[in-house]
């Protein structure tokens, strides 16, 4: 299963990206709770191991089509915390220049990151298009696209997976099953318990992984990516986790049973990985503390950069509707 063993440096990198994602998220959530945000935003809590583990498995020239809980992927693929926080605050210096909200619209073709739209699972067919462009040009590149459990019920999910399998596309689809589509639990929207089962209907590979285990997500993603690169077709990976806060920042998620949250709190992907790295002798609490401190400094810098950045000028509102 493991195409590559993770060395200690890589394992610490995985921890760093998850911790940076968590620190960024905590700062963002706190700010919004204080009424100092603009518009809505989406907490990443619970999704760190998926977005970091899958994103880390990408090759340098691969393309990724993330969604709104993939801050870890955005960061490790090269959207800096500064640019990301600037986007949250609607600044000119964010990737969308104030044109799109929170993580929406954040993309950078130079970094191989596609922006997503709210209409999940639209990242899947767009990722398929990237994959088919690699096939068209005979390039050994792979596209990875993310979506959620809720979007796996949409017709577009079916259309895309059928085509991906039919065309043997170099595409890996990650379904982040966080058990809730806004207020509705997954068991109220589908009869299957594992979304990965659906892959069989398209004649493609599917597997379920523990979405709170960053190394499990990494290994499953890396294997699927290399399989796709070898021309052996697409894979559907379902990563199971729990959305630890509401759908969006305004949502208190009172509809989620407290016991369920407590159960998943005990399996926190970031804290759990830190404990594992210490236990396995990869690092010690002092070094982890240094990493945590570095993340705090980076996020503080990002917030200060965003706050100091100019807001877009109203006279530029019509710029960019069309490409030259």
């Amino acid at each position: 299963m493991n195409p590559t063993r993770l060395d200690p440096r890589q394992r610490l990198e995985l921890y760093y990206w998850m911790r940076l994602t968590r620190t960024f998220d905590e700062r963002m959530v706190a700010r919004w709770k204080q009424g100092r945000g603009i518009g809505g935003t989406f907490s990443q809590r619970g999704h760190e191991a998926i977005s970091v583990g899958a994103g880390y498995a990408l090759g340098p020239r691969d393309v990724v089509a993330p969604m709104h809980r993939d801050l870890g992927t955005f960061l490790l693929r090269g959207i800096t915390p500064r640019r990301m926080f600037a986007n949250l605050l609607g600044r000119e210096t964010g990737p969308t220049g104030g044109r799109d909200v929170n993580l929406h619209g954040v993309g950078d073709l130079g970094l191989g990151i596609f922006s997503f739209i709210s209409h999940l699972p639209q990242s899947l067919p767009v990722g398929l298009g990237a994959a088919m462009s690699f096939r068209y040009r005979d390039e050994p590149r792979v596209a990875v696209a993310f979506t959620g459990d809720g979007a796996s019920n949409a017709g577009l999910f079916h259309e895309t997976l059928n085509m991906a399998s039919l065309y043997n596309a170099p595409l890996v689809v990650i379904v982040e099953n966080n058990q809730y589509a806004y207020s509705t639990p997954t068991h109220d929207t589908m009869k299957v318990t594992d979304i990965a089962q659906r892959a069989g209907g398209y004649g493609m590979s599917g597997l379920t992984v523990d979405g709170n285990d960053v190394e499990a997500v990494y290994h499953a993603s890396a294997a699927a990516i290399e399989r796709a690169r070898r021309g052996e077709g697409p894979t559907l990976i379902e990563a199971k986790t729990m959305r630890m806060l509401g759908h969006a920042i305004h949502d208190g998620a009172e509809y989620v049973p407290a016991g369920l949250l407590a159960e998943w709190e005990a399996r926190d992907p970031v804290i759990g990985y830190a404990a594992r790295l210490v236990q396995e002798g990869v690092t010690d609490p002092v070094e982890l503390g240094e990493i945590d401190g570095r993340c705090q400094v980076e996020v503080t810098d990002a917030v200060e950069f965003a706050q100091a950045s100019p807001l877009p000028r109203p006279e530029t509102v019509t710029e960019g509707v069309y490409a030259a």
């Binding site: 993309g107 639209q122 298009g129 462009s133 068209y136 085509m163 960019g320 490409a323």
Partner: protein
């Protein structure tokens, strides 16, 4: 091989095929995809016939029945620098790809600077006794959408020139081709490279008394009406818009200001159609030149009916244009 620029007589449909083939020869990034477009079949209307033999299945790609999915797939290809030309089998089916066009393709450059060089060919319009789901003209939805361009050629030459321009454009372009003109209309088409710029209307007939502003198959109905009107002493401008977004506002205003009377005609249903926008434009910016109300002629506020007497009652034609124009001329 024809000398560059020499005109031959081609059908409207052959002009479309020629534009596709020439652009695919010129630019290896251009490909076509859609239902039934590949192989020897060449699409429901044969617009892509011969292309698979010349360019192979990678560049002439058959898709499953999945307009929403393959349109977004084409957007992903466009992000990577390919220039896909998507065939909707019928313009009526474009509603199944609505999200992919209006939410995804149309917003990408504004939101994050990603160009979407994508063409969607949509065989539209009726008069062919094809019923509610094979006769529609849904252009107003897309004209209403920021970030799209919309064209609707009325002649074989424009069919070639506008498709060439659309393929070379770095934005999503919806190309409404008129099914009733496919084989019924033959006209001169320049051989070789021929581009009709997006955004420029064409004065198909000149007259000082009244402006008929239209596009697509209705251009020919308007020209027939104008011929009769001339015999009655009413000289008409027939302005063929060619591009519906961005509108050639200068050409519309120039014609309306010259004649003082404007009739806007389209096959699409009139209510909240493109004619409403054009009438508002003229009323707003050429008001002092007007000698009468701006009138509109369009389809009825019904689905497009099948049976000949019903479809004829639904759809504008030369006779209805003649009567409406005569009434306006006498205002």
């Amino acid at each position: 091989m024809q000398p560059e620029g020499e005109e031959r007589m081609l059908t409207y449909l052959a002009a479309i095929t020629e534009a596709l083939a020439e652009e695919m020869r010129r630019d290896g990034d251009v490909l076509v995809l859609g239902e039934d477009v590949g192989g020897e079949f060449g699409g429901a209307f044969k617009a892509t016939r011969g292309l698979a033999a010349e360019f192979g299945p990678k560049r002439v790609m058959n898709t499953p029945l999945a307009e929403l999915g393959f349109t977004s797939m084409a957007v992903g290809m466009a992000f990577m620098g390919l220039r896909p030309v998507v065939e909707m089998q019928f313009a009526d089916f474009i509603s199944t790809a609505f999200d992919s066009i209006v939410q995804l393709a149309a917003t990408s450059h504004y939101r994050w600077g990603a160009a979407v060089p994508l063409v969607i060919r949509a065989p539209s319009d009726g008069g062919l006794r094809s019923g509610p789901f094979h006769s529609q003209n849904p252009e107003a939805w897309f004209v209403h959408t920021p970030g799209l361009k919309v064209v609707a050629p009325a002649t074989p030459a424009d069919a070639k020139g506008l498709l060439t321009a659309a393929i070379r454009d770095n934005n999503p372009v919806i190309y409404f081709e008129s099914k009733p003109l496919y084989r019924s209309l033959t006209g001169p088409v320049p051989a070789g490279e021929y581009v009709v710029p997006i955004g420029a209307a064409h004065l198909a007939r000149a007259g000082d008394d009244l402006s008929i502003i239209t596009y697509g198959a209705q251009v020919h109905e308007a020209l027939a009406a104008a011929e009769r009107l001339a015999a009655d002493g009413v000289a008409c401008d027939v302005l063929d818009l060619r591009t519906l977004k961005p509108l050639d506002e200068a050409a519309i205003l120039e014609s309306a200001a010259k004649t003082g009377k404007a009739l806007v005609v389209h096959s699409a249903n009139r209510l909240a159609g493109l004619g409403a926008e054009i009438a508002a434009l003229i009323s707003d910016r050429a008001f002092s030149h007007l000698d009468g109300p701006v009138r509109r002629l369009g389809g009825l506020d019904t689905p497009v009916p099948f049976s000949p007497p019903l479809e004829d009652a639904y759809r504008p034609n030369a006779e209805k244009i003649y009567r409406a124009a005569l009434d306006l001329a006498q205002f």
